[in-house]
Protein backbone atom coordinates (compact mmCIF):
# COMPACT_ATOMS: atom_id res chain seq x y z
CA UNK A 1 0.00 0.00 0.00
CA UNK A 2 1.36 3.45 -0.90
CA UNK A 3 2.08 5.95 1.86
CA UNK A 4 0.56 9.42 2.11
CA UNK A 5 2.04 12.09 4.37
CA UNK A 6 0.07 14.91 5.91
CA UNK A 7 1.43 18.03 7.59
CA UNK A 8 -0.99 20.05 9.66
CA UNK A 9 -0.43 22.44 12.58
CA UNK A 10 3.25 21.54 12.80
CA UNK A 11 2.73 17.77 12.91
CA UNK A 12 3.61 15.28 10.15
CA UNK A 13 1.62 12.06 10.04
CA UNK A 14 1.84 9.06 7.72
CA UNK A 15 -1.04 6.87 6.62
CA UNK A 16 -1.83 4.28 4.00
CA UNK A 17 -3.42 5.59 0.83
CA UNK A 18 -7.17 5.18 0.76
CA UNK A 19 -8.55 2.79 -1.86
CA UNK A 20 -9.55 5.78 -3.98
CA UNK A 21 -6.09 7.32 -3.67
CA UNK A 22 -4.44 3.98 -4.45
CA UNK A 23 -6.47 3.70 -7.66
CA UNK A 24 -5.28 7.15 -8.71
CA UNK A 25 -1.66 6.25 -7.82
CA UNK A 26 -1.88 3.02 -9.82
CA UNK A 27 -3.31 4.89 -12.81
CA UNK A 28 -0.49 7.45 -12.64
CA UNK A 29 2.06 4.66 -12.44
CA UNK A 30 0.66 2.82 -15.45
CA UNK A 31 0.80 6.08 -17.46
CA UNK A 32 4.34 6.66 -16.19
CA UNK A 33 5.42 3.15 -17.19
CA UNK A 34 4.25 3.72 -20.75
CA UNK A 35 7.01 2.35 -23.07
CA UNK A 36 6.79 5.49 -25.19
CA UNK A 37 7.88 7.58 -22.18
CA UNK A 38 10.86 5.28 -21.69
CA UNK A 39 11.74 5.60 -25.37
CA UNK A 40 11.63 9.39 -25.03
CA UNK A 41 14.20 9.19 -22.21
CA UNK A 42 16.36 6.85 -24.32
CA UNK A 43 16.24 9.33 -27.19
CA UNK A 44 17.22 12.12 -24.80
CA UNK A 45 20.21 10.11 -23.63
CA UNK A 46 21.13 9.28 -27.21
CA UNK A 47 21.00 12.93 -28.23
CA UNK A 48 23.27 13.79 -25.33
CA UNK A 49 25.84 11.13 -26.33
CA UNK A 50 25.79 12.22 -29.96
CA UNK A 51 26.23 15.87 -29.00
CA UNK A 52 29.22 14.96 -26.87
CA UNK A 53 30.97 13.50 -29.92
CA UNK A 54 29.74 15.87 -32.63
CA UNK A 55 33.12 17.56 -32.80
CA UNK A 56 34.60 14.38 -34.33
CA UNK A 57 32.58 15.17 -37.41
CA UNK A 58 34.35 18.48 -37.98
CA UNK A 59 36.35 18.71 -41.20
CA UNK A 60 39.75 18.99 -39.52
CA UNK A 61 39.15 16.08 -37.10
CA UNK A 62 39.51 12.44 -38.08
CA UNK A 63 36.71 10.24 -36.79
CA UNK A 64 37.78 6.67 -36.13
CA UNK A 65 35.83 3.76 -37.57
CA UNK A 66 34.99 2.67 -34.01
CA UNK A 67 33.51 6.07 -33.29
CA UNK A 68 31.54 6.01 -36.56
CA UNK A 69 30.17 2.57 -35.68
CA UNK A 70 29.27 3.64 -32.15
CA UNK A 71 27.41 6.73 -33.34
CA UNK A 72 25.61 4.65 -35.94
CA UNK A 73 24.53 2.18 -33.26
CA UNK A 74 23.17 5.08 -31.22
CA UNK A 75 21.19 6.34 -34.19
CA UNK A 76 19.82 2.85 -34.76
CA UNK A 77 18.59 2.38 -31.18
CA UNK A 78 14.88 2.90 -32.00
CA UNK A 79 14.99 0.19 -34.68
CA UNK A 80 17.37 -2.17 -32.85
CA UNK A 81 15.61 -2.05 -29.49
CA UNK A 82 11.86 -2.25 -29.67
CA UNK A 83 10.52 -3.99 -26.58
CA UNK A 84 9.89 -2.60 -23.12
CA UNK A 85 12.32 -5.12 -21.66
CA UNK A 86 15.02 -3.79 -23.98
CA UNK A 87 14.13 -0.22 -22.98
CA UNK A 88 14.55 -1.17 -19.32
CA UNK A 89 18.00 -2.64 -20.06
CA UNK A 90 18.99 0.51 -21.94
CA UNK A 91 17.91 2.65 -18.96
CA UNK A 92 19.54 0.46 -16.27
CA UNK A 93 22.07 2.21 -14.05
CA UNK A 94 24.60 1.05 -11.49
CA UNK A 95 24.64 2.23 -7.88
CA UNK A 96 26.55 5.36 -8.93
CA UNK A 97 23.93 6.33 -11.46
CA UNK A 98 25.98 5.31 -14.51
CA UNK A 99 24.23 3.71 -17.47
CA UNK A 100 25.27 0.07 -17.70
CA UNK A 101 24.20 -0.98 -21.21
CA UNK A 102 27.16 -1.42 -23.57
CA UNK A 103 25.54 0.66 -26.30
CA UNK A 104 26.27 3.80 -24.26
CA UNK A 105 29.99 3.05 -23.81
CA UNK A 106 32.00 5.45 -25.90
CA UNK A 107 34.95 3.81 -27.78
Amino acid sequence: MSKIHIWENGTLTERDATSEEQLAINLRQSEFDNPNRKLEIIKLLRLQKLKETDYYALQDVIMSNEMKAWRLNLRNIPQDYTTEEEYDLLLARDENGNLTHSVWSKP
Binding site: H5, E8, I25, Q29, F32, D33, I41, L47, L91, R93
Partner: protein
Protein backbone atom coordinates in the same frame (compact mmCIF):
# COMPACT_ATOMS: atom_id res chain seq x y z
CA UNK B 1 10.19 39.72 69.76
CA UNK B 2 9.78 42.48 67.24
CA UNK B 3 11.44 45.78 67.12
CA UNK B 4 11.54 48.76 64.79
CA UNK B 5 14.54 50.73 63.72
CA UNK B 6 13.89 54.40 63.22
CA UNK B 7 16.79 56.23 61.62
CA UNK B 8 17.09 58.85 58.89
CA UNK B 9 20.11 57.19 57.35
CA UNK B 10 21.86 53.78 57.30
CA UNK B 11 25.66 53.81 56.93
CA UNK B 12 28.40 51.15 57.23
CA UNK B 13 29.86 51.02 60.69
CA UNK B 14 33.27 50.97 59.04
CA UNK B 15 34.51 51.09 55.46
CA UNK B 16 32.13 51.58 52.53
CA UNK B 17 30.01 48.44 52.46
CA UNK B 18 27.46 46.83 54.67
CA UNK B 19 25.08 43.83 54.57
CA UNK B 20 21.39 43.54 55.30
CA UNK B 21 20.36 40.27 56.94
CA UNK B 22 21.69 36.75 56.34
CA UNK B 23 21.18 34.07 53.70
CA UNK B 24 17.57 32.89 53.79
CA UNK B 25 16.18 36.10 55.20
CA UNK B 26 13.40 37.88 53.33
CA UNK B 27 12.84 41.62 53.60
CA UNK B 28 9.52 42.87 52.30
CA UNK B 29 8.82 46.32 50.99
CA UNK B 30 5.09 46.73 51.73
CA UNK B 31 2.50 47.98 49.33
CA UNK B 32 2.49 51.76 49.11
CA UNK B 33 6.15 52.07 50.01
CA UNK B 34 8.46 53.54 47.36
CA UNK B 35 11.96 52.10 47.08
CA UNK B 36 13.58 54.81 44.97
CA UNK B 37 16.79 53.67 43.25
CA UNK B 38 16.46 56.06 40.34
CA UNK B 39 19.70 57.91 41.08
CA UNK B 40 21.74 54.89 42.12
CA UNK B 41 23.25 51.84 40.48
CA UNK B 42 21.01 48.81 40.85
CA UNK B 43 22.61 45.41 40.24
CA UNK B 44 20.11 42.67 39.41
CA UNK B 45 20.88 39.00 40.09
CA UNK B 46 21.96 37.04 36.99
CA UNK B 47 18.85 34.91 37.42
CA UNK B 48 16.54 37.91 36.98
CA UNK B 49 15.70 36.64 33.47
CA UNK B 50 16.59 32.95 33.51
CA UNK B 51 14.83 32.45 36.82
CA UNK B 52 11.47 33.25 35.24
CA UNK B 53 9.08 30.90 33.45
CA UNK B 54 9.83 30.60 29.74
CA UNK B 55 7.12 31.12 27.12
CA UNK B 56 7.25 29.84 23.54
CA UNK B 57 5.07 32.37 21.76
CA UNK B 58 4.39 36.06 22.05
CA UNK B 59 1.06 37.85 22.18
CA UNK B 60 0.82 41.23 20.50
CA UNK B 61 0.50 42.95 23.89
CA UNK B 62 3.47 41.20 25.56
CA UNK B 63 5.94 43.84 26.71
CA UNK B 64 9.68 44.45 26.54
CA UNK B 65 11.60 46.87 28.79
CA UNK B 66 13.51 49.54 26.88
CA UNK B 67 15.65 52.56 27.68
CA UNK B 68 14.25 55.32 25.50
CA UNK B 69 17.13 57.24 23.94
CA UNK B 70 14.95 60.23 23.09
CA UNK B 71 13.89 60.57 26.73
CA UNK B 72 17.24 60.62 28.55
CA UNK B 73 17.33 56.85 28.73
CA UNK B 74 14.26 56.62 30.93
CA UNK B 75 12.78 53.16 31.13
CA UNK B 76 9.69 52.47 29.03
CA UNK B 77 8.10 49.38 27.62
CA UNK B 78 7.21 48.46 24.08
CA UNK B 79 4.65 45.89 23.05
CA UNK B 80 5.48 43.03 20.72
CA UNK B 81 3.05 44.33 18.11
CA UNK B 82 5.21 47.46 17.67
CA UNK B 83 8.52 45.63 17.21
CA UNK B 84 9.93 45.36 13.69
CA UNK B 85 9.40 41.85 12.37
CA UNK B 86 10.82 39.69 9.60
CA UNK B 87 9.34 40.03 6.17
CA UNK B 88 8.54 36.31 5.97
CA UNK B 89 6.79 34.11 8.51
CA UNK B 90 7.08 30.33 8.34
CA UNK B 91 3.55 28.91 8.10
CA UNK B 92 4.28 25.40 6.89
CA UNK B 93 7.32 23.13 7.12
CA UNK B 94 7.63 19.47 6.27
CA UNK B 95 10.70 17.37 5.58
CA UNK B 96 11.38 13.69 5.68
CA UNK B 97 13.17 10.80 4.08
CA UNK B 98 11.21 7.78 3.06
CA UNK B 99 8.89 6.73 0.32
CA UNK B 100 5.79 8.86 -0.17
CA UNK B 101 3.18 8.84 -2.91
CA UNK B 102 1.71 12.16 -1.87
CA UNK B 103 2.20 14.92 0.65
CA UNK B 104 -0.44 17.30 1.94
CA UNK B 105 0.55 20.60 3.51
CA UNK B 106 -2.73 21.54 5.14
CA UNK B 107 -3.84 24.91 6.44
CA UNK B 108 -0.73 26.87 5.46
CA UNK B 109 -2.73 29.57 3.64
CA UNK B 110 -5.02 31.95 5.49
CA UNK B 111 -6.36 35.48 5.32
CA UNK B 112 -3.28 36.75 7.20
CA UNK B 113 -1.10 37.08 4.08
CA UNK B 114 -1.75 37.77 0.41
CA UNK B 115 1.55 36.45 -0.96
CA UNK B 116 3.32 33.23 0.01
CA UNK B 117 6.69 31.71 -0.83
CA UNK B 118 6.84 27.94 -1.25
CA UNK B 119 10.30 26.32 -1.39
CA UNK B 120 10.93 22.70 -2.32
CA UNK B 121 13.67 20.11 -2.54
CA UNK B 122 12.69 16.64 -3.84
CA UNK B 123 14.45 13.34 -4.52
CA UNK B 124 12.52 11.02 -6.84
CA UNK B 125 12.58 7.23 -6.93
CA UNK B 126 12.10 7.05 -10.72
CA UNK B 127 14.02 8.65 -13.56
CA UNK B 128 11.98 11.15 -15.51
CA UNK B 129 9.27 11.79 -12.92
CA UNK B 130 7.55 15.12 -12.39
CA UNK B 131 6.26 16.76 -9.23
CA UNK B 132 2.59 17.64 -9.60
CA UNK B 133 0.74 20.08 -7.39
CA UNK B 134 -2.89 20.64 -6.55
CA UNK B 135 -4.35 23.19 -4.20
CA UNK B 136 -6.53 22.01 -1.34
CA UNK B 137 -9.46 23.76 0.31
CA UNK B 138 -10.17 24.24 4.01
CA UNK B 139 -11.50 20.66 4.16
CA UNK B 140 -8.13 19.47 2.80
CA UNK B 141 -9.82 18.28 -0.41
CA UNK B 142 -7.76 18.44 -3.59
CA UNK B 143 -9.07 20.94 -6.12
CA UNK B 144 -9.20 19.21 -9.49
CA UNK B 145 -10.63 21.79 -11.87
CA UNK B 146 -8.35 23.39 -14.43
CA UNK B 147 -4.91 24.75 -13.67
CA UNK B 148 -3.47 26.80 -16.54
CA UNK B 149 0.31 26.94 -16.69
CA UNK B 150 2.75 28.39 -19.21
CA UNK B 151 6.43 27.65 -18.89
CA UNK B 152 9.80 27.95 -20.54
CA UNK B 153 12.68 25.62 -19.93
CA UNK B 154 16.19 24.85 -21.08
CA UNK B 155 18.77 22.22 -20.26
CA UNK B 156 22.11 20.95 -21.43
CA UNK B 157 20.59 18.20 -23.55
CA UNK B 158 17.76 19.90 -25.35
CA UNK B 159 16.85 23.18 -26.91
CA UNK B 160 14.89 25.81 -25.03
CA UNK B 161 11.18 25.29 -25.33
CA UNK B 162 7.95 26.81 -24.17
CA UNK B 163 4.89 24.92 -23.05
CA UNK B 164 1.29 25.50 -22.15
CA UNK B 165 -0.81 23.09 -20.11
CA UNK B 166 -4.37 23.21 -18.88
CA UNK B 167 -5.17 20.20 -16.75
CA UNK B 168 -6.22 19.10 -13.26
CA UNK B 169 -2.82 19.85 -11.72
CA UNK B 170 0.25 21.95 -12.37
CA UNK B 171 3.88 20.87 -12.24
CA UNK B 172 7.04 22.03 -10.55
CA UNK B 173 9.03 20.45 -13.41
CA UNK B 174 7.67 19.63 -16.84
CA UNK B 175 10.97 18.04 -17.88
CA UNK B 176 11.20 14.72 -16.05
CA UNK B 177 13.71 14.86 -13.21
CA UNK B 178 16.68 12.56 -12.67
CA UNK B 179 16.34 10.12 -9.80
CA UNK B 180 20.01 10.57 -8.89
CA UNK B 181 19.84 11.69 -5.26
CA UNK B 182 22.83 14.02 -5.60
CA UNK B 183 20.79 16.31 -7.84
CA UNK B 184 17.30 16.81 -6.39
CA UNK B 185 14.63 19.01 -7.91
CA UNK B 186 14.89 22.34 -6.13
CA UNK B 187 13.06 25.58 -6.54
CA UNK B 188 10.64 28.09 -5.21
CA UNK B 189 7.21 29.31 -6.09
CA UNK B 190 5.23 32.40 -5.18
CA UNK B 191 1.52 31.95 -4.61
CA UNK B 192 -0.78 34.96 -4.58
CA UNK B 193 -4.16 35.47 -3.00
CA UNK B 194 -4.96 31.82 -2.18
CA UNK B 195 -7.49 32.73 0.50
CA UNK B 196 -9.66 34.81 -1.80
CA UNK B 197 -12.88 33.24 -2.96
CA UNK B 198 -13.45 35.94 -5.56
CA UNK B 199 -10.11 35.83 -7.40
CA UNK B 200 -8.10 33.08 -9.05
CA UNK B 201 -5.08 31.86 -7.09
CA UNK B 202 -1.92 32.57 -9.09
CA UNK B 203 1.50 30.93 -8.92
CA UNK B 204 4.97 31.68 -10.32
CA UNK B 205 7.52 28.88 -10.23
CA UNK B 206 11.29 28.72 -10.73
CA UNK B 207 12.89 25.27 -10.69
CA UNK B 208 16.46 24.04 -10.97
CA UNK B 209 16.21 20.74 -12.81
CA UNK B 210 18.28 17.78 -13.90
CA UNK B 211 16.83 15.53 -16.57
CA UNK B 212 17.21 11.78 -16.96
CA UNK B 213 20.52 12.37 -18.73
CA UNK B 214 21.83 14.22 -15.60
CA UNK B 215 21.85 17.50 -17.53
CA UNK B 216 21.21 20.62 -15.50
CA UNK B 217 18.45 22.94 -16.52
CA UNK B 218 15.83 25.38 -15.38
CA UNK B 219 12.14 25.93 -15.72
CA UNK B 220 10.16 29.10 -15.18
CA UNK B 221 6.41 29.01 -15.21
CA UNK B 222 3.37 30.99 -14.25
CA UNK B 223 -0.28 30.24 -14.08
CA UNK B 224 -3.40 30.10 -12.01
CA UNK B 225 -6.18 27.89 -10.77
CA UNK B 226 -9.20 28.83 -12.85
CA UNK B 227 -11.77 28.81 -10.09
CA UNK B 228 -12.89 31.34 -7.51
CA UNK B 229 -12.08 28.97 -4.68
CA UNK B 230 -10.54 29.77 -1.32
CA UNK B 231 -7.33 27.75 -1.06
CA UNK B 232 -5.94 26.56 2.27
CA UNK B 233 -3.12 24.18 1.41
CA UNK B 234 -1.13 22.15 -1.09
CA UNK B 235 -0.97 18.57 -2.30
CA UNK B 236 2.30 17.53 -3.94
CA UNK B 237 2.71 14.12 -5.58
CA UNK B 238 4.94 12.39 -8.17
CA UNK B 239 3.80 11.59 -11.71
CA UNK B 240 5.31 8.14 -11.21
CA UNK B 241 7.24 6.26 -8.58
CA UNK B 242 7.52 8.06 -5.27
CA UNK B 243 9.27 10.88 -3.46
CA UNK B 244 12.23 9.43 -1.59
CA UNK B 245 13.21 12.57 0.32
CA UNK B 246 11.52 15.93 0.44
CA UNK B 247 11.65 19.29 2.10
CA UNK B 248 8.84 21.80 1.71
CA UNK B 249 8.50 25.14 3.42
CA UNK B 250 5.78 27.76 3.10
CA UNK B 251 6.28 31.37 4.22
CA UNK B 252 3.72 34.10 4.50
CA UNK B 253 5.11 37.38 3.17
CA UNK B 254 4.38 40.32 5.46
CA UNK B 255 2.93 43.34 3.69
CA UNK B 256 4.98 46.51 4.21
Amino acid sequence: MSSEIKADKWSPASGTSATIGDSGDTFTVPSGVTLDTSSSTLTLPSSAITGQTAITSLADTDKFLVSQASDSGNLKYVEKQYLPSGSMVLVGSVSSTGSSSGIFVNGCFSSTYINYLFTYNIDFSSDGAKARVRFTNSSNAEQTSTYKQSSIRDSGSSSASSLYNATSYFVLNDDGQSNFSNIPLTGHMYITDPNSSSRYTAFRNFASTSDAGRNSGYEISGGHYSENTSIAGLSIYPSGGSFEAWNFKVYGIVEA
